[in-house]
């Protein structure tokens, strides 16, 4: 039987609403705390605004957990009109508290409406990639059972790989999201670190991919890693690429070089992702990256 499915996600997905072709979706906004004051993504308070604060005022920014009340409001508003809800979350390895909050809501509504919480094992455009892939699946197979959707969502998670170049790891470090990439910090030699969030890593944390001395080197490294993953998974074509940039004006030419390089790999879909206030907290000025769903 065809199911009516409602999607929930949050705004650290590297996409804006208009880039998601699905009518039944609500995007929660992560609270961002800058110098003790709470902000949410808006026309005024966006990635550009925070980058300018970082560069000119040296502010400290943090994020907070998804607000349980806000998820409940969405569920309450839509529970009677849908058969199932799918909440695509950022990696529980990066925000265990947000996943816990989502789980609380799932349990609270156990007997009201089934909710699947998908741990994307991703952040930023990686979450976007997982979300779009699951939407594609349920659109193409509207009669899938809950168990089948869960199984296919897990396959999507394990086929999604994201790579980022961050000018300075201090933003990740300060936000407690550095994971194993801490090994890339503290070098006397100026290095450009490449970090990854890989769907096959069960911990769902940031891992070090490598380091380069020039952007050309790190871009090549990311390209090679994507090819390596394609070989590992025996795929000849990427299903979807989502790039992310725009954290200030730095590195415009270098990220364009990367995106062109990655686009030269056979792929079905390419999306130029958009940064949000919440991911800017961790990426910092000049960061960029690509996520591939294989």
């Amino acid at each position: 039987m065809e199911k009516k499915i409602f999607f929930i996600t949050a705004d650290n997905l590297g996409l804006i609403r208009e880039q998601i072709d699905y009518p039944y979706l609500e995007i929660l906004k992560f609270p961002v705390i800058v110098e003790g004051k709470e902000y949410r993504q808006s026309d005024e308070f966006n990635a550009k605004w925070l980058i300018s604060k970082y560069e000119n005022e040296n502010v400290v920014a943090q994020t907070s957990t998804l607000v349980q009340k806000e998820i409940i409001e969405i569920v309450e508003k839509n529970k009677s009109d849908f058969d199932l809800m799918i909440h695509v979350l950022m990696s529980s390895g990066l925000s265990a508290a947000s996943f816990k909050v989502a789980e609380n809501v799932r349990k609270q509504y156990e007997n009201v409406i089934p909710i699947i919480n998908v741990d994307s094992r991703q952040a930023v455009n990686g979450v976007g990639n997982v979300l779009l892939a699951i939407i594609d699946i349920v659109k193409a197979n509207p009669a899938l059972s809950r168990e089948e959707i869960e199984r296919k969502a897990q396959e999507v998670v394990e086929s999604t790989f994201s790579y980022f170049v961050v000018n300075d790891l201090k933003y990740l470090y300060k936000g407690g999201r550095i994971g194993k990439a801490q090994s890339l910090m503290g070098s006397i030699l100026h290095i450009i670190p490449v970090i990854g969030i890989l769907g096959t890593e069960v911990e769902g944390i940031v891992v070090p991919i490598g380091k380069g001395r020039t952007f050309k080197q790190v871009n090549s490294m990311i390209y090679d890693k994507i090819i390596e993953k394609m070989n590992e998974k025996s795929v000849s074509k990427i299903k979807r690429i989502i790039s992310i940039s725009g954290y200030g004006d730095k590195n415009a030419d270098v990220y364009t070089e990367l995106f062109e390089k990655v686009k030269s790999i056979p792929h079905d879909d390419y999306i130029d992702g958009k940064p949000a206030l919440v991911d800017t907290v961790y990426v910092g000025p000049g960061g960029y990256g690509v996520s591939v769903y294989l």
């Binding site: 529980s92 390895g93 265990a96 996943f99 816990k100 789980e103 741990d119 194993k180 090994s183 503290g186 070098s187 006397i188 030699l189 100026h190 290095i191 069960v202 911990e203 769902g204 891992v207 070090p208 490598g210 380091k211 380069g212 001395r213 020039t214 050309k216 080197q217 590992e232």
Partner: protein, 604 residues
């Protein structure tokens, strides 16, 4: 209820409690690692049973981080732990233990932790371990697993709590353990009980936290072998000299409880009789010498297959049977465990690389490990025993404090920094052993050091992979591209592949007149530039030479890095000139501190 009983009645159906119990068992096993290592004579006395069991559990636990925060049942948790143990298993003991846990977990994955189901799980664990072992031998961990099953069944008629049943049967299992030398001649000959079997009991003891303060203070194996040697010398001594020998009272006063080697305990008792004139018949003296020789032989056997080789192969093209047939001829102690399309393989062989080449044709090698058992054995029985504290390390030998600091920051675990004088074999050996790593990647910045490094490696207790580098830029390149996340052979491959990825030129001052290979004459005190081991330019002016070199090699470079030698004090002026001359190139300057060259200049 006492604390002890409260702990025993912990509901293991709760994942968080279960993960804590497993963590405590691991800690407990880790504390007894050395004791288990000291018993290890079968199948090869390489002294790593304890370490292998610890690493197997440690690797699996590391994969389980965060699992308790999720909605995962205790049964599912155990099953995942078992799968991770298999994939992380080390050595024979680690593999057999993992097989037992896999069989156990397959039964309790239904979350039924009743004594009846636990009994079934133990039975299945034993069956899985037994069937998964090529050539199963009595007197090993397998015997203990079977006894565990049988005693559990007996005790469950009187007791309901599975943990209390385990506590009750531990003493009975120890009795079986003490019988293992009667079942396996090599144990009897060496005077020990089986190390894997002991490890199994220690794991069970670990469940019972009552035993957590139990400490082992036995005499080490090298010391025990030393006692044997001393005894032989004392027996040869003339009676008049014997009384003056300071070793005699030491031997006579050894506390037998500290000698875990049963056979040596007996020998010492016999020796006491001889030296105290209770019984000094020739026949007893001969028996002592004969016993000592046999003990010595069992601890110093001929190791037929040198390398303990393990790997995980991912393949859809093969089967367990095919691999068994293919690999059997390469050595012994072959074990193959299959989980879907992944095969975890363990074998003792002299040709690990041939095996890797052979199986690579069938699929992807996900993990490889090669331990040199001769080295491990030598370490094990030597006085200056190295207690490995980590699996892998990177060691660099470099001239210049600046380079040392850079390499350290890039992840090298230890640096031997030298000045005008090259390091000695002893210095290198000391540094290598101080790393206390089972596997080491070692690289130097000068070919002249390679001989000393090779010699030190031949004396070192660890498995050392030498990267034949000859300059500090190669070391930086290696460190930029190596990741300790991978296994040691992959790390070594990464190191070798990336040695020459950064083009560079080195600039030095001639201490005498020299002629380059291409006929270029360099006069004493002139500066000259070396590129790919050839002198390519010379100039009396250092800065002019640098500009000449950059003109020649900059090409499409976007970053040029200058590593200053110890004699270069200030180069601000040079930097200004370079920035003006090459506006599209970024320049970075670091203190290398090297003594031989004024500058290393890299082009990226």
């Amino acid at each position: 209820m006492s604390k002890k009983d409260a702990l025993l009645s912990v509901s293991i159906a709760n994942t968080r409690d279960l993960s804590e119990v497993i963590s405590n068992i691991y800690q407990y096993l880790n504390r007894h690692k050395e004791y288990l290592n000291s018993l290890n004579v079968f199948p090869v006395p390489d002294g790593d049973t304890g370490l292998n069991m610890v690493l197997t559990l440690q690797g699996a636990i590391a994969q389980m981080v965060g699992k308790t925060d999720l909605d995962i049942s205790a049964g599912a948790y155990l099953k995942e732990l078992a799968d991770n143990m298999l994939l992380n298993s080390r050595g024979c003991s680690g593999v057999i233990l993992s097989l037992f846990v896999q069989g156990f977990a397959n039964v309790v994955s239904n979350n039924d932790f009743s004594k009846e189901n636990i009994y079934k799980a133990i039975e299945n664990g034993y069956k899985n371990a037994y069937e998964g072992t090529e050539n199963p031998q009595e007197g090993t961990m397998l015997t203990l697993m079977r006894a565990f099953r049988d005693f559990f069944y007996e005790q469950m008629q009187n007791e309901d709590d599975p943990l209390l049943i385990i506590r009750e049967i531990i003493p009975k299992l120890k009795e079986v353990l003490n019988q293992t030398p009667e079942m396996l001649p090599v144990l009897k000959q060496a005077g020990v009980v089986d190390s894997g079997a002991s490890g199994f009991i220690i794991l069970l003891e670990g469940i019972d936290k009552e035993l957590k303060n139990h400490h082992i203070t036995g005499i080490s194996i090298p010391s025990l072998l030393g006692i044997g040697k001393t005894l032989r010398q004392l027996l040869k001594d003339r009676r008049s000299n014997l009384r003056k020998n300071p070793m005699l009272p030491l031997i006579l006063n050894i506390n037998s409880n500290r000698v875990y080697n049963n056979r040596l305990q007996e020998v010492i008792e016999d020796a006491r009789k001889v030296f105290s004139h209770i019984n000094n018949r020739i026949s007893l003296q001969k028996k002592i010498i004969n016993d000592l020789q046999e003990i010595d032989r069992s601890w110093n056997p001929e190791i037929k297959y040198r390398y303990c080789t393990e790997f995980t192969l991912e393949s859809d093209l093969t089967s367990k049977e095919y691999l068994k047939e293919k690999l059997n001829g390469y050595g012994d102690s072959l074990m193959i465990i299959q989980s879907d399309n992944k095969f975890k393989i363990h074998i003792h062989t002299n040709k690990p690389n041939d095996i890797f080449e052979e199986v690579s044709k069938l699929g992807d090698l996900l993990f490889t490990k090669v331990d040199d058992m001769k080295k491990q054995h030598r370490n094990f029985i030597s006085e200056d025993f190295v207690d490995y504290e980590r699996d892998k390390s990177i060691f660099c030998i470099v001239s210049g404090k600046g380079f040392a600091e850079i390499l350290k920051n890039l992840g090298a675990d230890d640096i031997l920094c030298y000045g005008q004088n090259k390091p000695s074999v002893n210095q290198i050996l000391k540094n290598l052993n101080n790393l206390k790593a089972k596997n080491i990647i070692a690289a130097a910045d000068d070919y002249d050091i390679l001989m000393a490094l090779k010699l030190a490696v031949s004396l070192c207790k660890s498995n050392v992979y030498i990267v034949e580098s000859d300059n500090p830029i190669s070391l930086i390149s290696m460190m930029m591209n190596i990741s300790k996340e991978y296994d040691i052979t992959t790390m070594f491959d990464q190191a070798m592949k990336n040695l020459h990825t950064i083009p560079f030129s080195a600039i030095a001052r001639a201490t005498r007149n020299v002629t380059g290979e291409n006929g270029l004459v360099v006069n004493k005190n002139e500066y000259f530039a070396v590129y790919r081991k050839s002198i390519i330019a010379a100039n009396t002016q250092l800065h002019q030479l640098i500009i000449e070199i950059i003109d020649k090699f900059a090409g499409d470079s976007i970053l040029i890095t200058l590593y200053k030698g110890e004699r270069v004090k200030n180069n601000d002026e040079l930097l200004q000139v370079l920035k003006l001359r090459y506006p599209n190139i970024e320049f970075e300057v670091y203190d290398g501190g090297q003594s031989k060259f004024e500058y290393y200049i890299t082009f990226e």
